[in-house]
Symmetry: C2
């Protein structure tokens, strides 16, 4: 059986838990508290040398890291994976957009604000730039979703799961989604998908 | 014919130019000077709403963005793409590692130091943390390359191209690679691949 090492508050981990639920794939959940350094122990670093959850142990013992690589692995051959070459590349385009232009801003600010009582002085200095870049990412999404129901191929799939993970909790980082009505409508469409589970869902 | 919108100093763009050279795929190069804001014009934003190079225009007019998504598109069905499901996921694992845990530190510091005369006050404050995280990424690579010749499947492929892009110019950000002998040996192996071109190569 698959074993998922995860932290329940993580949007990156939630992406994987959401897809596993929608695939109805059984797995064992091992919670690792990143706030207590449990992903930086020698034992965990032997699983993922980069010291991050989620990490998925496959049946043969192999560990996979990086949420979007895990999503790709799990989705291959299912309805959630893109069916043709261009759609695969477009899906990866949005997944890399999420990890490079969205997560470091929206997820990081949400992490600072949601899990800690106050920001450090350096975080205070970085905050305006991070907020601005987070809103820029929401703007790119809003523009795309003004013309499309989902991110790729007009159907729910991996790119939507990847972007939903932290967008739906952006308010926990004090991002205001009201100026992004197409993003809000898409969030509702994703939440209405069969088999949808919330971020606090445990299998 | 493919059209690549690129900035010659970009390691992200170079990844694509390197693979295109090794595939012997002809393309038209359109240079965009990111230092002059040429990727933030209305014309460019119509190609990539995220305002970044590289962007690849396909024969049907479609634009693809995100260097690693472009690499994936170009490599499908070639010797540079992984042949099985696990290797595909491991390749993506390293590509997402590169964009999340390597590029924002090594490439960003190199960008600050290589293209500008001095750092801004905020960049000066962020520098120690960015250097530390860049070295952490090199440490993860060093550990892996101590046991493997290449990143996935013991053969040169997409993960190597993705990680080579900015690792080989890390010194331009004042990163010292001497403590990473396995990384240095791997850089030499990549540079010795058939069809290798340097970052200033134009087709």
């Amino acid at each position: 059986m698959l074993t998922l090492y995860d932290f329940m508050g993580s949007g990156n981990g939630y992406k994987v838990r959401l897809l596993l639920a929608q695939l109805a794939t059984p797995y064992k959940l091992v919670e690792c508290d990143i706030l207590k350094g449990e992903t930086r122990t020698p034992e965990f670093l032997a699983k993922n040398p980069n010291g991050r959850i989620p990490a998925l142990q496959l049946d043969d013992g192999t560990y996979l890291a990086e949420s979007d690589a895990i999503l790709w692995y799990l989705a291959e051959g299912t309805q959630f994976a893109p069916a043709d070459r261009l759609a695969r590349a477009q899906t990866l385009q949005w997944m890399f957009f999420e990890q490079y232009s969205h997560e470091p801003f929206i997820a990081t600010v949400r992490f600072w604000r949601h899990f800690f009582d106050r920001l450090t002085p350096l975080q205070e200095l970085e905050l305006p730039g991070r907020m601005e870049k987070g809103y820029a990412a929401l703007g790119v999404m809003e523009k795309h979703l003004g013309r499309h129901e989902y991110f790729v191929g007009e159907r729910y799939g991996l790119a939507d799961i990847a972007l939903y993970g932290y967008t739906h909790v952006a308010a926990e980082g004090s991002f205001d989604l009201d100026p992004y009505p197409h993003v809000c409508a898409w969030l509702a469409r994703v939440a209405a998908q069969p088999g949808h589970v919330t971020i606090d869902h445990k299998n």
